[in-house]
Amino acid sequence: MMSFGLLGFLQPWALGALIVLPAIWWLLRITPPRPKTIVFPPTRLLKGLEDTEQTSAHSPWWLTALRIIMAALLIFALAGPVLHPDRDALPGSGPVLIVADNGWAAASGWRSRQALIDTYISRAERDNRPIILTGTAGSRETSISTMSPQEAREAAASLQPLPFDPDRARLAKKLGDEFKGQEDLAVIWLSDGLDYGGAKEFSAALSALSGARAPLSVALPQSGSGALGLRAVKGEKGKLSAQVIRSGGNVRGGSIQAFTAQGEQLGAAPFSFAEGATAADAAFDLPLEIRNQAARLEISGETSAGAVHLLDARSQWRRVGVISGEARELAQPLLSPLYYVERALSPYTEVEAAKGSNIASSVEELLQRNLSVLILADIGKLVPGSLNLIESWIGRGGTLVRFAGPRLEKNTDRLLPAELRRGGRTLGGSLSWSTPQRLSAFEDTSPFFGLKPPADVTVRRQVLTDPAALRQAEVWARLKDGTPLVSAAKRGDGWIVLFHITANSDWSSLPMSGLFVEMLRRITERSVTTPGDVKAAGGTPAPAASPAAAQSGLLAPREVLDGFGRLVAPSPAVAPIEAEKFKDADPGPARPPGYYGPASSTRALNIIRAASVLKPLPPLSGQNQQISYNVLESVQLKPMLLGGAFLLFLADMIVMLVFSAGGRFLTMVRRGAAAAAPALLVLAIMAQSAGAQQSTSAGDAKALEAALATRLAFVVTGDAEIDRVSRAGLSGLSRVLKARTAIEPAEPAGINIETDELAFYPLLYWPVRENVKTLPDKTLAKIDAYMKQGGMIVFDTRDYQTTLPAGAQGPGATALSRLIGDLDIPPLEPVPENHVLTKAFYLLKNFPGRWDGGALWVEATPASDADKSARSRRTDGVSSLLITSNDFAAAWALDDTNRALFPVVPGGDVQREMAFRVGVNIVMYALTGNYKADQVHVPALLERLGQ
């Protein structure tokens, strides 16, 4: 074995073959690839041409280089190179003691720890030294004994991180006892980089074992990759937030993921540490209902029990509705009945206050919002509607909390735990013997059990329950004299809780105490998150559900975390935790973090508590040597080098193929290109269709343009000449309209009847081509809808006078019947006398266009109201189509200098003027409807007005 820096060689003598490389180079250089030989009669003519190319007759330099590299790779591969060869020796001469921190903090880098342990076992094996392997965390029974390398490997494989803090002091003591006086151990401490207290002493103890000559080796995680701890905190407004803590280090970031109890991911929140920061916050932005489903938070990528935070019902966020019988006194907020309640609830619930003073509507409104708890402060009697509403909500699992007050004292309804006696009692008044009462300690059946009533809380006045009726209810809190202060009764799935005092400080000082906050919190915590799905919520408000546990006050483990932060079934060694001590319980071998307690109200025990701080290892005293976890594993490079040589060989083959195939290869390439041509064609088509999509947006632009200004529109027939005349005609008419009327149309638009949206155009001019084709059904439906929704189409067959006798059905009419024959066309008639079209703007008698004489057909006016078709009623009696044969557009067509483009027949300015008037009337008719028709009533109206 020979080594140079990072590289070592197993067979260094093979490197001697590198000497032959120059020889190979020389050989390759002077031996050009064998050309193909061709007997070619006019070779004489080629003579002298090849001079410029002669150099390339040699194999190109890069090909030679490629082959040289190939040869070099082969030689290196044969030499058996190893990257990062393990060359370190162990200090000392006695057994090798490997102490691994296997608390939760070691879990996320466990693989590298195991690799390091393995490395040291290998080294010990190399030196033929026995091994002692032990973890700092773990049960007390772990024996410490020397092992053979094989046993040590097995032990290392079975060494697992544990979900609690390591107990280094215990181990130090044990080791001290075991190896008393021995000073020749090689001691390696694989630390997790955290100080749980006493790290210094521990390292001192280890140093003592390794003796004076050899230093203690301490493996530390890299700065910035130390253990992370996660705890959930309640952010403002009940947002689910988390805090990530660490012992310090570089800038670091990551994300926290929230999961439901079923393991579905709810969301992720990023966090980032600044340089040297030890805490970083992250907040989830989740709706309340979803936020409450979160059961577990995890730092993604960190597989340790400390990077998992379990949530229980206490961290769920409930919505509480509060309604007061009194109008809120904004001037004196401290006297407001709900002031203390809202203050007490707002840190951990979402408080919904009633908006108005109408209690009935407030109840209705609040109950629609998935309340968990409804608090009614001093509301005596609810209206029956609200009563029923609340009652059914309680039946579904709602918790109603009522506070007493003057109104409740006088007047009650049935929503109480027990019937009240009329009138309350006053304690400590000027006319009373009694003094204000204190609270007695909470009984163990009470949900408030465990809370300590402060001595200074007194009750001056309360409402009293009928003692006979009290049997139906539970008493959760009593005064010293035994009278109930808080009584409760279960109704359906829900609860009614009554505080026998007011919600403000009128009757007692309880609302001002911290106890009040805790009491309300307990009540909300045991409430169903979302009444109506009790089972889904999982938490039934039933302390009596496991009376034994409640009585014994023991919370049995349900699921616990293993060292990697996975929830597993608890081992038999895990002991239950006393309920009252749960809050202060620290995870340990007997109580790993996890869920404890009955299914209905599990409590979560987490490694990282609200007050947890991760401290880095202090500078260690004594002789020690720091090592890194990033032990570079020895890597055999031989396969890689051989693979590289093989790849180069393949490349060389391809190059040779190309060289020897020469023209044929190029032909192949060309053929390939030819084969690719269809693919290119497909691409081109796709590009075109992309273009079509772009034209859709162009269609949108057109729609936008059409919607922004009123404009006349014509149907594009496909005949360029007809379309040109249509455009010129409508343009001319637009100019006339602008000059003479209040209508200021924009430039006319050409419409593709099959693809364009029609809704923007009030009037559609449709010149009918003689060879027009029948329209597809879809288009017909569109036209029909357009006409029925108030659009007007002017069909112009333009064929008057092309037929003899005049008036006979011309080719245009045939075409028109082909075009719209399938449409739902109402009966038509020539414009009758007094039709609105004759007086919409100008008074007209006939309707000339370029030709004069063709009739203008409109929808027949119904003889009586009963005959009025649905259509004419919808469209206000305005004809949805006009049919002419007079070629309006040609008569209206003007050029840029306002000169007519076409002569009118029989002719004269009068006819053109009349044609324009027809156009104005039609547009007016289309835009104003039958408004002019109403003018006939003007005299009657005036007469009725008495003028």
């Binding site: 070619f40 009669p41 006019p42 070779t43 003519l45 041409l49 190319e53 020469g662 023209g663």
Partner: protein
């Protein structure tokens, strides 16, 4: 000779077939209104012959028998009827039988030599049919049906003769005055070598027609990649790194070479036809036929149709 006979027979058969198709080809080409009057060539001068040439006044030196009495009887003078001098031509043929002619590239179905032999035999067939005398250069001119066979035999004999096969230049032999020679070769030898030979032939008063038969590959150099070119005769060798890069310049040289030959021929008033072996043999046959008959100067001559033109590249001129 035995081993060359049987392929040669095939070629002969081919040539017969070619020649047999010739008249119909002429008709099909519709470019000559009458079949070429071969053989008994009018010499455009008086002399022994059968065709009337002119009447002229009797001179004292004329024999009395030469007087045309019928013509003389119509006037007061004596007239002599003169006939045009007609004589059968001798057409000498030579085929380059050197190794370079054996070349055949992948672009062509036949070697140059095969094509040259076919054309020579077919030409001979046509000439013999027209009454001409034909001979391989250095042989004895013959007429009649057996002449073609004799021609084939001499080709076979010479193909078997290594001394002859080495020479890719036409031999200098004594040819009769006013005879014609048809030279089939690829004419790839340097013009400096070729020109003296042609000169020596031309000074004998021989009219020559060169038919340069080339493989298409020799025109276009359709090779790519690293290629070693070896001359068919001689030890010339050229190794090209990328043969395709030589293509343009090679073509230029080829054209320049051909122009050099043409310049030489122009001086001698000889003609050159270029034929590529990937074209049908009929084309070359028809073209050289026309050349031999001198019909391209005829007012009835029309430039060849496109299909035929393609076989006669830019070098074609005379």
């Amino acid at each position: 000779m035995a081993d060359t006979a049987s392929p040669l027979q095939e070629l002969e058969t081919h040539a017969h077939g070619l020649a047999a198709r010739m008249p119909s080809l002429l008709v099909a080409a519709r470019r000559i209104s009458h079949t070429v009057a071969h053989g008994i060539h009018g010499r455009r001068r008086r002399g022994p012959g059968e065709t009337f040439w002119q009447f002229r006044h009797f001179e004292d030196s004329d024999a009395a028998e030469s007087i045309d009495w019928r013509r003389s009887a119509t006037s007061d003078h004596l007239y002599v009827r003169e006939r045009e001098w007609e004589a059968a031509h001798t057409v000498w043929m030579w085929i380059d039988l050197s190794a370079s002619m054996a070349f055949r590239s992948h672009l062509s179905a036949t070697s140059k030599m095969d094509r040259a032999i076919v054309l020579a035999l077919a030409m001979g067939e046509l000439l013999v049919q027209a009454g001409e005398r034909i001979a391989f250069m250095g042989g004895r001119p013959r007429a009649g049906r057996s002449a073609v066979n004799k021609l084939a035999l001499s080709i076979a004999r010479r193909a078997g003769d290594p001394a002859f096969a080495k020479d890719s230049l036409p031999p200098v032999t004594a040819l009769g005055q006013f005879s014609e020679c048809l030279l089939f070769s690829d004419f790839l030898e340097p013009v400096e070598d070729l020109a003296p030979r042609l000169e020596q032939l031309a000074v004998q008063g021989v009219r020559g027609h060169l038919l340069q038969i080339l493989d298409p590959a020799e025109e276009s150099l359709p090779y790519e990649g690293r290629t070693e070119f070896t001359a068919a005769e001689g030890a010339e060798q050229v190794t090209a790194g990328r043969a395709e890069s030589l293509r343009t310049r090679f073509h230029e040289r080829m054209v320049a070479h051909r122009h050099a030959i043409l310049a030489e021929l122009k001086r001698l008033e000889w003609s050159l036809l270029v034929h590529h072996t990937d074209r049908p043999a009929e084309e070359a046959l028809l073209a050289s036929h026309t050349r031999l008959a001198g019909l391209e100067h005829d007012y009835r001559y029309r430039p060849p149709a496109e299909a035929i033109d393609a076989g006669l590249p830019e070098g074609d001129a005379a």
